[in-house]
């Protein structure tokens, strides 16, 4: 298989990688960069487990070929944990037991943060809608909705920009 050289900025670090044209970004993150917090549940764009941020927008890493991400700024759960951007969401998930096996969780957190960045005052139905592309087999979703709701209200109360 022919390989192509690409450059990616992942969690603030620049990487020069040789990848096959057919390799999707989730595999590159997991296998080449050992960023195993990005999970794979279906590899056909349905479960949402591979959700990451590409140039600020949430994206399914299994639906993007690595070569398509050339030059992109990529953020994964490891980076968002490091910067502290989603610390409050992580705390709320833990306190509300909004994860059981935790396999959906990194993507769920990133998706929730995306909602709160665009809509700081979502109601429960809006939260449910926004995470409806992220499958969770364990929780039944209610604890996740509660956790996101708690953080939305806390951020409002703190008067922060989200």
């Amino acid at each position: 298989m022919d390989k192509k050289v690409i450059t990616l900025t992942v969690n603030g670090e620049s990487h020069r990688l040789e990848v096959e044209a057919r390799t999707h970004l989730a595999d590159v993150l997991r296998d080449e960069l050992a960023l195993t917090g990005t999970h794979i549940g279906c590899e056909h764009g349905v479960c949402g487990a591979c959700t990451i941020r590409v140039d600020g927008a949430i994206t399914r890493a299994c639906l993007l070929l690595a070569v398509q991400a050339e030059g992109a700024m990529i953020e994964t759960i490891e980076g968002l944990s490091e910067t502290g951007e989603i610390r409050d969401l992580q705390d709320a998930f833990r306190n509300r037991n909004a994860l059981q096996c935790g396999y959906c969780t990194p993507a769920m957190l990133i998706t929730a943060q995306d909602l709160l960045l665009h809509n700081p005052t979502p109601d429960r139905a809006t939260i449910r809608d926004h995470i409806s592309g992220n499958y969770c087999r364990c929780t039944g979703y209610q604890a996740i909705v509660d956790a996101v709701d708690t953080v939305a209200k806390a951020r409002q109360a703190a008067g922060e920009r989200p």
Binding site: L35, G41, H44, R96, N97, C101, Y135, T139, G140, Q142
Partner: protein
Amino acid sequence: MTDPLSPLDRPNSYIGRTVPRPNLERLVEGRGTYVSDMTLPRMGHVVFVRSPYAHARILEIDTSVAKQAAGVIAVVTGAELVEQCSPWVGVLSHLKGLKSAPQHAMAVDRVCWQGEAVCAVVANSRAQAEDAAEQVQVRYEELEPVTDMRTALEPHIPVIHPELGDNLAFERSLDAGEVDKAFAEADAVAEAEFVFGRHTGVTLEARAVLADWNPGERRLTVYQGTQAPHMMQNIFAKHLALEEAQVRVVCKDVGGSFGIKVHVYADEMATAALSKRLKRPVKFVADRIESFVTDIHARDHVCKGRIAVKQDGTITAFAIDDLTGIGPYSMYPRTSAIEANQVVNLVGGPYQARNYRARARVVFQNKNVMCQYRAVGHPIACSVTEGLVDLAARAIGMDPLVIRSKNLIRDDAYPTDSPSGLKFEALSHHASLAKLKQMMDYDGLRAEQKRLRQQGIYRGIGIASFIEVTNPSAAFYGVGGARISSQDGVSVRMDATGAIIVQTSLTEQGQGSEALTAQVVASALGVALEKVRVILGDTDNTPYGGGTWASRGAGIGGEAAWQAGKALRMNILKVAGTILQTVPELLDIDQGVVVDKATGRERIGLDEVARITYFRPDTLPADFQAELLATRHYVPRQYPFAFTNGIQASWLEVDTETGFVTLLNHWCVEDCGTIINPQLVDEQIRGGVVQGLGAALFEHCRYDERGQLTNGTMADYLVPMASEMPDIEVGHVVSPTLESELGAKGAGEAGTAGAAAAVANAVNDALDPFDVTITEIPLTPSVILKALGQRSG
């Protein structure tokens, strides 16, 4: 020593407290270690060539081209792998008459379902293995598949395993009381045929295994997402011709299990056998289509039911005839007859009626294997029972809650038993029903339903009472000859700084085993939760035990943790007593400090006790040996199972134009005895309910008549997503089991047991004005429209 303090009264007890699970931080940061994340030096990736046919003879496998492909380490056929891995037969001796055929790690000369592996390709990367697998040429001669379980026993249908004589794997009949008389004397008899589609677990992390045979150590280490590591240790040893001591099973983070990951899968056995053959680590991770065609499927029943009722509402008899299709083999080692057996055991279980007749037949078919998934048999038994109770209520014009309160076993009737021989220690059907009625405002909803009907809005209320098997003793598997332990063991030790290390045979797949163990041990000892670290999921480093299945973690492993914690506390107090020159009985431990029991006065810190024990034993009397490690095991003996009970209700709306169902609210009241962590119990219930709701409305493995699965992607197989699910209100009644000191029973399956029954009853209640009864799940729009259309046409 008898302890005057109950677990709940210990100073600063964590029993009954919501505290966050200790293992969550790494998971929210994406720092978990799931098997799919793991790599080892020289690791090969295996990809399986799988049969495209449901039933076919293998004529030839040509691996020559594949073997030359880039990165390929080995290409091994099923026939070749027989050298490393012996076949198995999924039967248990207490399921009388159960039969099955030998199953191999990969098909040898014949494939029996679409997706069965025939050849393995091991390469340096998964992509290379997939490329090479496409080069494996397999010639098949297609055979007639047996797909319809309704005709599987007819004489003109081929027998899948001719040596077995027929396609009947198992049959059980039961006749209790005077069933014919009860039906003859009934004021009304209602009957229906209940149909349950096949569905599956869809764990978000697919099955994954990494096997590492090290010829230097002559040991096999298997990293596996399994619920039962000790069971797997035995199975790997047995079929790979090793001693158990040569096998270590390690279970790190697991991306969901629900009973899917408690079975022996042929491709996982093949992976371990390949590692032994190739003398290097081999990893298998199922992709999603492989999950759909090889993870065990569940349910797939057609059950005819009848109920006899008197005009005053007294239910006098139940009768069922259940048929289920299990694929071509009974699964190993738990067998595929347990679910049908459970259906026979459980139908009518919450009710007083003593007349009960049941037959269950389990048949082979050329579809994927079928076996135990969360709530095994309960959703079938509950849907049939509760569907029949609603039909009886309708036949005599009685409110569904009223007929239940007339017939549920009285709360003061315990201990008692069921016509099928189940023993009930203490259940709380009436207290649960009363609580549910109040939580949901039953009368208010009935009024709203009536008002909305006048506007052409059809809403329904569905009620489902249930009982649940938890805390299984050896009666489940052990008596049938399976080496599946029903006891659990816990070791607790204090290290040299006073910190506590716990090793338990429970496993964790997100239920909270680690948390409940830490809470119980911290309470038993009298230390802060943060001082306790729990180790689990490793056959080399935990006591021997069953693991996590059949809602046994809190009730069995929790009790073992309690007993071990208590024993260590006594051991610590003996050391402290020696140091302080007093008797241990006058001391206790509170928040990590040895105190005078009577006054609470602080005497010596655990860190100091540890320091003296480990570094200055010379200061202790010569005839005294400190033991800062205690191990205890536990298994229930008095009752084969600790039954729990509960009741669920669904409130939903049916769009009679489109057939769509909108879930508006769902309630579950359940009684799992002592609650160790209320939040974890509630979330187990909610997660379980949603799995039941998925089965009720969406989930269905659809096969065509050639045995081809037609919806093997997540776009085609629908699972519940957040926007379709309601909030779920959970309530509790607490009837502890007196068999253990903790009094905990299981809660993991209660949600799944009754959710579909509640939804089906609610749909029928909503459609009452149209005079239709639907007894089929999933209740897809087309099922509902068809029923409505048949009525008008």
